[in-house]
Chain length 111, copies 2
DNA sequence: TCATATACCTAATTCAATTAGGTATTATGG
DNA sequence: CCATAATACCTAATTGAATTAGGTATATGA
């Protein structure tokens, strides 16, 4: 079911950037649920990992935020900046490249 | 050329176990060169990463060592224990599973 | 009313990997 | 013949992303 968390390291930013690119503005809690759904439950992005990563991406200028009042609760949407969009594309391409290399090194067929 | 080192995190043990499984007994310096060659220069496994990992695998009982005297120099071969062989298989399978999941999440085709 | 879900967050810790060395032997080009 | 590169082992200190383990508050369904 769930993957070894070791392998997930280094992929969190890529996942989040891609989610934001495909889905447009998304709030934090929603991101964890989208990842869980897309991965059929095998990638469980905890909030302790999510929020620091989002804040890091924001500090790097790759995402920006919009606060929306929902009843008495403030919901914070995250969305890509233009640089974020470009970076999302690059990171995904890099990941594809990486798994191609790894497939060769590990001598496995990805079909 | 070289990949973002972030993505490599968590894959080092898998790479090393697979090299030892395919190649049989191999010494440390040789492992770095095999990985570099197999990856066409895009995975540069430094010795600072390699040796601690090999020692960790040894402590976990997945690899054992054989010292061979080459002239005045001691060469230390690393080879899989039976548990290491089994673990190598499992780790590679896990990695394949992981990239399948990631392909879905990132919506990319691996061909 | 009480647990569960929603929704944001952070502080402390962990631990693999990076950086930056150290030591010594063996080949090789000028 | 000598200096440099290549071979070959290693470790200590640091980094930094992720994990663990919380905290706060609102909304909802049984």
């Amino acid at each position: 079911m769930a993957h070894s968390p070791e392998l997930l390291k280094g992929t969190l930013q890529t996942i989040i950037l891609k989610i934001l690119k495909d889905h447009g503005k998304t709030y934090g809690y929603e991101i964890t649920h989208r990842v869980k759904e897309l991965s059929a439950g095998s990638i469980l992005l905890t909030e302790g990992a999510l929020y620091p990563t989002l804040h890091r991406l924001e500090a790097e200028g790759l995402v920006k935020t919009e606060k929306v009042l929902m009843g008495k609760r403030v919901r914070k949407y995250y969305l890509l900046t233009p640089e974020g969009k470009s970076e999302a594309k690059d990171r995904v391409a890099e990941f594809v490249d990486f798994i191609k290399t790894m497939s060769t090194v590990l001598q496995v067929n990805i079909a």
